[in-house]
Symmetry: C2
Subunit: 406 residues, 2 copies
């Protein structure tokens, strides 16, 4: 059976083999060529992102899956002008959208017969890697910078992964791990496109699903931006749909970054899309944010993210930690969805874009809520202490009466 996809170098256009994660000829990043003359969705798949396998670099007989994707698009109860539709990615197997890219990576690793999947992560990527590697019968290794809290590491451990803590700067650690994997053939499931182009295709399915659920592209798609890979993949997904005639227009993308990790915002404002141009922009200063899933000084897929946002005639802006946690409360109270602050940052950004007049009252907006709040309860509760009332049993009635009348 010939594959329905062909890896090709994005720089020199050389074709690559199935074992390569980068171009063997020039070292460039890989992308994939698909046969667009015969694209149909696969109705035989139980609802999941694998409905779209013909635009994913995975043989349909060799899918490793926990049922990722197939998440609901929920019409907001409260936000009607603009009309907001919430793409609820908290419904993925481990509670975040990272299950999509990692399911593609692990399917690829499994096909190659690898027994070890390695990532550097103390966040969502680590959890998704652990879950999907276990599902495939592979070992997962999570390399975390020293000092990551046990609350964040325990799920990875409970999913059977081996945890290794390393002293040093995160960028050094990533470089060391990537070199090792390349030299010795361990599978590297990094969610950075230049390190692993297979995973980078997974998040395209957010676009495919959204368009199918909505019947077309919305005016805006709003996403939190960390490494930059998700927003770039969603853009490629909409471009595919446009080419296929499945949407009649393209959405504008609104990317939201933490204001403590604002490299992309500075680059956006300065019109500098290439990472080598950023060094002058980036202040050397201590940074700290509870939006840990978005905390990149050097977003590895940042260039692609900026290009995508620009091509879409979109916008990029930043929010504070406090704005993200307040947005968590608003999303919860108004819509009944409990998301982590790194996700509700996107809602805070959308509200800002409305105030700026960028997003209009008549627009249709898809807000991608990327991860569940349950994974970050221990962080959120420190930022926003609980309000609770202690009463005697005999006073419950008064309490309820007051509440009912307000």
């Amino acid at each position: 059976v010939e594959d329905h996809y062909q890896p090709v170098c994005l720089q020199c256009e050389a074709e690559a083999g199935e074992f390569s994660l980068v171009c063997e000829r020039c070292g460039g990043s890989l992308g994939f060529r698909y046969d667009f003359t015969d694209i149909k969705w696969d109705d035989s798949q139980e609802r999941s992102m694998w409905r779209y396998w013909r635009l994913l670099p995975v043989n349909s007989e060799q899918i490793v899956s926990l049922g990722e994707g197939g998440t609901p698009l929920i019409v907001s109860r409260g936000w009607r002008h603009p009309r907001v539709l919430i793409k609820d990615e908290t419904r993925n197997p481990t509670g975040s959208q990272k299950d999509r890219p990692l399911a593609v990576a692990i399917s690829h690793a499994s096909r190659l017969g690898k027994n070890l999947s390695v990532v550097v992560s103390s966040g969502s990527t680590g959890i998704s890697n652990a879950a999907l590697a276990s599902r495939a019968g592979m070992k997962a290794v999570i390399v975390a910078p020293r000092g990551a809290p046990d609350e964040r590491l325990y799920p990875v451990f409970a999913l059977g992964a081996s945890l290794v803590e390393v002293d040093g700067e995160i960028d050094e650690i990533i470089d060391a791990v990537e070199s090792l994997c390349r030299e010795r053939g361990y599978y590297l499931s990094s969610t950075c496109r230049s390190s692993n182009p297979y995973q980078a295709e997974g998040a395209k399915t957010i676009a495919y699903e959204t368009a199918e659920q909505l019947g077309n592209a919305p005016d805006w798609v709003v996403l939190p931006v960390g490494g930059g890979g998700t927003v770039a993949a969603v853009w490629r997904g909409f471009q595919d749909l446009y080419r296929l005639g499945r949407v009649s227009r393209l959405p504008r993308l609104l990317g939201v970054v933490p204001n403590e990790f604002d490299t992309l915002e500075l680059a956006w404002k300065a019109g500098l899309k290439e990472p080598r141009q950023w060094s002058g922009l980036i202040e050397t200063r201590p940074r700290s944010s509870i939006l840990t899933k978005l905390a990149h000084v050097y977003p590895p897929d940042g260039q692609e993210a900026l290009v995508a946002i620009e091509e879409s005639h979109g916008f990029l802006l930043s929010v504070t930690d406090a704005q993200a946690v307040e947005a968590q409360q608003r999303l919860g109270k108004q819509e009944g969805i409990y998301a982590e602050p790194s996700s509700t940052a996107a809602l805070a950004g959308l509200e800002q874009a409305c105030e700026l007049g960028l997003v209009k009252e008549r627009d249709d907006v898809v807000l991608v809520i990327t991860g569940s709040g349950h994974r970050e309860t221990f962080v959120s509760m420190r930022s926003f202490p609980i309000t609770k009332r202690a009463v005697d049993p005999s006073d419950i009635g008064d309490f309820l009466a007051r509440l009912s009348n307000t």
Copy 2:
């Protein structure tokens, strides 16, 4: 439009009106009569439990939903004899199967025009009540016994509910709240059938979905048992399917309780199904268990649970906290699913039932994994400390080499 369901008293068979949560004539618990001559599933619903609304006491025009149900049935990678299929209820909107009953309750409350939904809970029911009430635009009140940890309360707070902590015994608190709601007309979303018969119908959909996914009933359905309502509802669900000719047999039910809260196990062994017979069995002693979602000395739907298990020719047994947490690790490592110990107790119970020869190698077993591990990370990590290795960047290679070769 006439309703497709009729509330009836399970004791005196009197018909009840839509505002009643108990029989106004005799005080008995209510059930529902459906028209079984015209039952078809609703293919127009996006995949969720509402596909089965014709066997739920909710008008199809008045559904309040976050997309609960429609959870995958995952073929186990590791357990093949017996063949285990995992009904992954962690995929519900708030991460547990309680979203099913609460979605029915809140739909009912919303239809009645209530503005307040009250539960006594510091667990899954509280979270589901908060999420679905917010979705309906209603206020949620969560009454929790004093001292519940903030990690467990924060999600409820982030979902916009009002939290009230009360001193006193849990049974007293429940009685006080139920009386107040009855007197003053606040909606009580308790997941106990005699307090709220509407919610009690929600978990039937676990049976409907499982049978549709599997094509028939399995040999066994394994469930953790806390209050008893879920296992009883699943049994009613399979009985419905048998009556409709959609399954050709009924499954046996295996119920699993914590050995620290073993009232139902004692009652099962003694053959005493009625709660008034249990007082002699129950030791007065301090009890403590991390299986908090199952911790009932007096399981409110215990009688129905025992009757269901007996009618199914099933079995009930208990497991220790340690067995449940070890099972969490096995489920994670082998299947890639991170569940809370109160859920993996069911896996530990299944393993025991295999050893006892109750469940045979040739059996098909559906294991219902009721809730996500992410909600209880803070508890699990105290019970099962993380194993992690700290290494220098230069030693990562050796670590990976050892791991790859083992």
